[in-house]
Amino acid sequence: MNRRIVVIAVAAAMLSSAAQADTIAVVTSFPKELTEAYKKAYEKKYPNDKVEILNKGTSAGIAYVREQAAGSRPEIFWASAPDAFEVLAAEKLLQKVDVPSSGIPDKIGSYPINDPEGMYRGQALAGYGFMWNTRYMQANKLPVPKEWVDLTKPIYHGHVATSSPSRSGTSHLTFETILQGEGWEKGWTQILQIAGNCASITERSFGVPDGVQNGQFGIGIVIDFFGLAAKASGFPTEFAYPSVTAIVPANIAVVAGAKSTEAAKRFMQYTLSEEGQLLLLDPKISRLPVATATYAKAPAGYPNPFSGSIQAKVNFDSNLSQSRYYVVSSLFDQVITFRHKELQAATKAIQEAEKRLAGKANAQLEEAKKLAFTSPVSAQQAQDQAILAPFTARKGDEAGTRRKTQLEEEWSSKAKANYLRAAELAAAAR
């Protein structure tokens, strides 16, 4: 009997000691290399705290935080897309914390690094660009692209890859950047031309760097750390920023209703500290720190957005982005993702016609180009509440949902008809 009491006492002691140590649950969409590095370094510095990584996609992460009862929520939310933090902040799931951040400027270009409301903080910076497989390029004799517009050239047909903005926040930012940099109509023309050259519109954003890394695709449109990390891991890939790109922060926030806010603050502070920022330079992580001083310790050739080595001509407007978020995603899916085969065929036919005509003006070809590479939504319509509103309709708003389905169906069938007609016209152009 005595023995049993001892066992219970020991068990109780273990449980209570376990309860004293603070557990910091971190919901994140970041890859294992990054989370593992922070967990290890942080736990070494604060041996009494335990970091618990909950690896979830951004939207799964939001759902997870939302579904936990206040008091048992995770401590930290850490992800790229600023929109995700806006959603959480709007639902009062984040809390404002006072964590000093010396050495971190307020803005990158004209984009605020930290949330002006103070609900979340920029922890690293990310820009978009392209990554290419040097062996693939060599085998297919492809020149290295410099700007987005290069990807519309016939030589790249079937060698490019990107992912759909509806499935990945990072690719949404990429296309929104093009739209803001080039303007709505010109931007869509460019996006449609690039998409027409794509070998595949992948289901996940990771599908793109993965495909470039193993040589399935020649060039991929990716967020910088994918490109930099692949190169640093020894793969025959390169990465470059085009001049129309945006640098936006990847963020970190303390969740409201977390078990231990104090520990959460400690962790957040750590990620923003000199030590925490330095971890970002690890070749397998390769992210851009927000602390300017950290770049002094970076290896030669490491991109520095504060020094002007990345020319970002676009000042990203997140309000504009948010106002048309769902329209851009849905439009992309209806006219590109779901109609990719037709778009590819039309693009191919147009490129062949151009080659055949060798610069001669041809009405049929012009008509074909117009049909294939014009967005069914005009710049004016893109600001129209009648089009924007149904896409933000709440669940249960049946009229809104119906209108949305109707619009999507309209875009999709119009796109299909246009692509087929464009292919016919281009094939007939002599």
Binding site: K32, E52, S59, A63, R204, N214, S233, G234, F235, F338
Partner: protein, 567 residues
């Protein structure tokens, strides 16, 4: 005493199988006002992505059956029909794919058969064309057919062996031969076995979550169920509609296979003569047969080979073979994730332990007692076969939402206990079959003798029954353990924290980043070796057991292991 144990088992099964599944089904039909409605199903078919996913799942499952049949039917025919030395090879072929969880091999297949994979690079160099093995859904079909064809092979071999040779002779006397003989006589008679195998392949492919996720083909039903529940939220009815559709397809296919397997008896009834006559392979036939087996063997081994190469390679990109080999990935795994290997051993060990305890108890109750309603226990435990892993996991999330356990931090579904119980419930049918078989082979007179000598019921069970069943119990334990170790469907839904995650989830996590591919492959190799050793061990156990008791097992040991892999 027995009644109390039976009740306890029933309570366990109701709590962790029937109730979660019922809550999934209920949610799919529940209207906002508490009534029942079909509205969610209507909504489901109104969403174009869902319609697309539904058709994609049917298409992938259907074509996987076709390709699996193309591989399996000739192989089965060779073994039964001809006297030749490939029998061992074919037996090996029946096991090799099964020890490799398809999601592990999927990534390696991209490097071998992808757009710029080894095979296509060689093809393009030599002939200037490529074959789109891995483009979109093709990849899923390719990987799944290679993984699941043994189900058709093994069932078909058994069915063909049971055909009465007189049937064939009569047909030959009436002038049929060659292809006509096969098409009109042999294949129709073996049909039940074929359909049983094919329906299993269909269900397994239809339910698989890991392979489409790893290959990035998310527009299918299982990935959509997972994505809806995890990102839209636990209240989203569409996830439950998908779950109900998946259960319906599983139940229908398993019911069909069970019915047809029963129907197989008609051929054995009129047996008495010889089975199919075996022939020698002649010249070109031998070449064709060995050639085909060689090709299949190469294909079947390719995921194994690919993952092994990946785990040792420094860089493998746009080249036929990786350049530079390293042990660094294994070092990464052992420094970063020894905990995951430990977790797998702990969870699967506990799950398998629960399975054999329950399995032994249920077997004893069914075979040795006259408890009313005892068959219901068997049916309930076996029902787990028809529940896809992702559905059971969603059921846990739904049914035990917010349930807090004493002494444990966090909710029940956030702890590993939920994961371990899901493993136990899903693997129980295999352990149960194994325990039943062991008890059936033991004559009841041994127990009577013990009781005559004054032993109580309890001590008879403890000192006579269990020791004599030990072989079967151990085999059941191993089967439960190895199948749980490589299951991803329930794991991925129920795992939330990285420190509590088992190996299968670890492999998935690693595979999500570029630098993680190597360590992911290394962890995959470790899992395959673990499962391979386990399979060999259970095969050896069963073999030894059947030899020792001199009971000629009707079904060969390999199909038994294969059937166990149904997880």
């Amino acid at each position: 005493m027995t009644a109390a144990i039976a009740l306890a088992i029933a309570a366990f099964l109701v709590a962790f199988l029937a109730y979660p599944v019922a809550s999934v089904v209920y949610t799919a039909f529940a209207g906002g006002d508490g009534g029942l409605t079909f509205a969610h199903f209507v909504t489901f078919f109104q969403i174009s992505l869902m319609r697309e996913s539904f058709w994609n799942s049917l298409y992938v499952a259907g074509l996987s059956v076709v390709f699996a049949s193309l591989i399996a039917v000739p192989l089965a025919y060779f073994t039964v029909r001809y006297r030749f030395r490939g029998a061992v090879l074919i037996q090996t072929l029946g096991v090799l794919p099964l020890i490799m969880p398809p999601f592990v091999g999927a990534v390696a297949m991209q490097l071998l058969f992808g757009r710029s994979g080894s095979v296509n690079l060689l093809l393009n160099d030599a002939f200037g064309f490529r074959i789109p093995f891995m483009e979109g859904l093709n990849g899923v079909i390719f990987v799944e057919s290679l993984h699941y064809f043994p189900f058709i092979l093994l069932n078909l071999v058994v069915a063909m062996q049971n055909i009465d040779g007189a049937m064939e002779e009569s047909a030959q006397n009436l002038g049929a031969s060659g292809w006509r003989l096969f098409r009109r006589i042999v294949f129709p008679l073996a049909m039940p076995g074929y359909v049983a195998g094919a329906s299993l392949v269909f269900v397994k492919v239809f339910d698989d979550l890991g392979t489409p996720l790893v290959l990035g083909a998310t527009n299918m039903l299982a990935p959509q169920a997972y994505l809806r529940i995890t990102s839209v939220g636990i209240e989203d009815p569409i996830g439950y509609v998908i779950s109900v559709l998946m259960i319906a397809f599983s139940v229908a296919a398993l019911w069909m296979s069970a019915r047809l397997l029963k129907g197989r008896d008609y051929s054995t009834l009129q047996r008495g003569g010889t089975s199919l006559q075996r022939r020698e392979l002649r010249g070109f036939q031998a070449v064709a047969a060995y050639g085909w087996i060689g090709v299949i063997l190469l294909l079947v081994l390719s995921p194994h080979l690919g993952i092994l190469l990946m785990s040792f390679s420094k860089v493998w990109s746009f080249s036929v073979l990786p350049e530079g080999f390293t042990l660094a990935h294994y070092a990464t795994v052992f420094t970063q994730s020894p905990r995951m290997i430990g977790n797998t051993l702990l969870y699967c060990g506990l799950a398998a332990f629960i399975d054999v305890v329950l399995g032994t108890a249920i077997a004893y109750i069914i075979l040795r007692t006259r408890l009313p309603g005892r068959q219901a226990l068997d049916s309930l435990a076996s029902a787990a076969l028809a529940i896809p892993g992702v559905v059971l996991a969603i059921g846990y999330l739904r049914a035990f939402k917010g349930l807090e356990l004493p002494f444990v931090e966090g909710t029940f579904t956030a702890t590993w206990v939920a994961l371990m119980l899901a493993y136990a419930v899903r693997r129980l049918p295999y352990a149960l079959r194994s325990c039943m078989a062991a008890l059936q082979q033991m004559h009841v007179s041994l127990e009577e003798a013990a009781e005559n000598l004054g032993a109580s019921k309890a001590s008879t069970v403890r000192r006579i029954v269990i020791p004599l069943m030990a072989g079967g119990i151990l085999a059941g334990f191993v089967t439960s353990f190895i199948t749980a170790a490589v299951e991803l469907s329930a794991t991925i839904v129920l795992s939330s924290s990285a420190s509590q995650a088992p190996m299968s989830y670890g492999i998935y996590l690693y595979m999500q980043s570029i630098a993680g591919r190597g360590p992911g492959a290394a962890l995959g190799v470790i899992a395959v070796v673990l499962v391979g050793l386990g399979t060999y061990f259970s095969y050896w156990l069963m073999h030894r057991r059947s030899a020792a008791t001199a009971v000629q097992a009707h079904v060969p040991a390999i199909p038994a292991t294969a059937a166990a892999q149904l997880g």
